[in-house]
């Protein structure tokens, strides 16, 4: 930890870096490698495919099962993200900007929910959703996703909102702006990065969920990819689904990798923003 910039120190850090990168990437590369293997070489245990093929990808995109699940995943995650960010932004604005009784309670409740064991909700939700006829529908998944994404959204956004210097709003008014102009031209551009970061985090959360996805769905109608993966059987009964599973896994990993590549800084700041202050 010494603050030295000698070559030796650099090499040492470099080695540690490599270790981290390998540690982080191997499982991902492995599943990608499997997805490119032909059925014949699938079981050779080699880390790098000997024969490359795109057949697995063709297979999954030919089956309704996967395409449908992908649509479900994307649709459900997007809608849940949108709603959670909008509701979260409203609450976070109130929390960071306004003074009203019950604020502490709201913060407490959302913290509790963040720590809530989701499995405890599975049985009552299963029963309630069946009664409300939203079991195995998009709303049936979107609702719990919003609920569990809201604490994340509220915390991240209120940390972001608190950093906005609200004097700017006054300054804009003095500069001749109406309330709406002040919001649109001054506050909104400043809040946008925070909203975007929060949206990414919430999307990752919804995209990731497995427990609700397998408990609150029963058919292709609303099953998302993570859930569908565990029911994958391949194109026919007799085919080994490994290659298809891996291809599907890679497909749903791609957006995550893209997010991480392009928005590393934002995600890190979002996750750590105000994680510890004071």
């Amino acid at each position: 930890m010494a603050v030295e910039t000698t070559t030796r120190a650099k090499v040492r850090w470099g080695l540690l870096d490599v270790l981290v990168v390998v540690f982080a990437l191997v499982p991902v590369l492995w599943i990608a490698s499997l997805s490119f293997k032909t059925p014949a070489t699938l079981t050779d245990g080699n880390f790098i495919p000997r024969e490359w093929t795109l057949d697995n990808y063709r297979t999954i995109f030919d089956t309704d099962q996967f395409v449908r699940a992908l649509i479900n995943s994307i649709g459900i995650a997007l809608i849940a993200t949108l709603i959670a960010v909008v509701l979260g932004a409203m609450a976070a604005y109130a929390i960071s900007r306004l003074d009203f009784p019950g604020k502490g309670l709201l913060v407490g409740v959302s913290l509790l929910i963040a720590m809530f064991p989701q499995v405890s909700l599975v049985s009552p939700l299963f029963e309630i959703e069946r009664q409300l006829k939203i079991f195995d529908t998009w709303p049936g998944l979107i609702l719990p996703y919003i609920t569990f994404a809201l604490p994340l959204a509220i915390y991240t956004l209120s940390a972001f909102f608190k950093q906005i210097p609200w004097d700017l709003e006054k300054a804009a008014k003095m500069d001749g702006a109406t309330q709406a102009q002040a919001f649109r031209r001054v506050i909104a551009p400043l809040a946008a990065p925070g909203l975007f970061t929060t949206a990414i985090l919430v999307f990752i959360f919804c995209w990731n969920d497995f427990l609700f996805a397998i408990s609150l769905t029963s058919t292709e109608r609303s099953r998302t990819v993570p859930a569908a993966l565990s029911f994958f059987t391949g194109a026919s009964q007799f085919e080994d689904p490994t290659g298809a599973i891996c291809a599907a896994a890679v497909v749903i990993t791609v957006p995550i990798i893209l997010f991480v590549l392009f928005f590393q800084r934002r995600i890190v700041s979002g996750l750590t923003s105000g994680a510890v202050k004071g």
Binding site: V28, S96, A114, S123, I154, L211, T272
Partner: protein, 327 residues
Amino acid sequence: MSVNATPAGAQVSAEAERPTTTVPTQRGGRRKPPLSENKRAERRLGWLLCAPAALVMVAVTAYPIIYSVWLSLQRYDLRFPDQREFIGLENYVTVLTNEFWWTAFGVTALITVVTVAVELVLGMGLALIMHRTLVGRGLVRTSALIPYGIVTVVAAFSWRYAWTPGTGYLADLFSDGAPLTERASSLAIIMLAEIWKTTPFMALLLMAGLALVPEDLLKAASTDGATSWQKFTKVMLPVMKPAILVALLFRTLDAFRVFDNIFVLTAGGNETSSVSMLAYNNLIRGLNLGIGSTMSVLIFITVAIIAFVFVKLFGTAAPGSDDGERR
């Protein structure tokens, strides 16, 4: 799930603060802020803005958990809906005297303790690397985020195929092959998968804490003759304590919910079920709402106890206490 923990409640906008601060000095004592027209409008707006979020959160958690308590007091098996009746605490007796429950509980506790402990150490190392590395900081941070972002099920499949004999590159590490068919090695692999997936999150929270350690403090410690290790334990750790506690709390509660990895890796076979897995099996596979709900309630209580103990032990350092944020 992952959430940043800031006590978010305690700040009042400058605009709202100003008129009230101008008054009290005149009469000496501190008065309650007066309720002006603006103030009341502000309250209304505050409630209005928070209402939708609060409603959704309460509707989807509070009501179901109460409903769940109600269900847990009944014999209610969807395969035999006719036999539904109120049976008091009988379900609890059944679950709490059941060997599977306690095995699952033990497995969950073991996984929680081991993974959180290992993650704390690894996460601290990773945080130090991400924070202080001289080369390739962006690269390290980016790659560390991949396990965090990746779908747990995908990672679980990757591990599963890695350890499956015939397919995997890791299967041969164990001479007798098929590590996922044996309890000890299965548990080890489940924990490995969990640790791989969640260490980065731990590391990010710890890194936020590291960023709070003033560089001057470290320099001062150096001039005072502290070794690197002493600097770490005597200077950095105390400053980071709140961050560490927050990270521990979140990870402990999160680890206790372990489900996805087990589902994919062993499906709970060879006595590797966690409590979540067991509850799921009773509910969705067994369609026994009574027993499933009982387990849900028990898990909820356990988590509440863990959270309570954390908050009690660490007092204001834990999130949710929004005192002391007002500057």
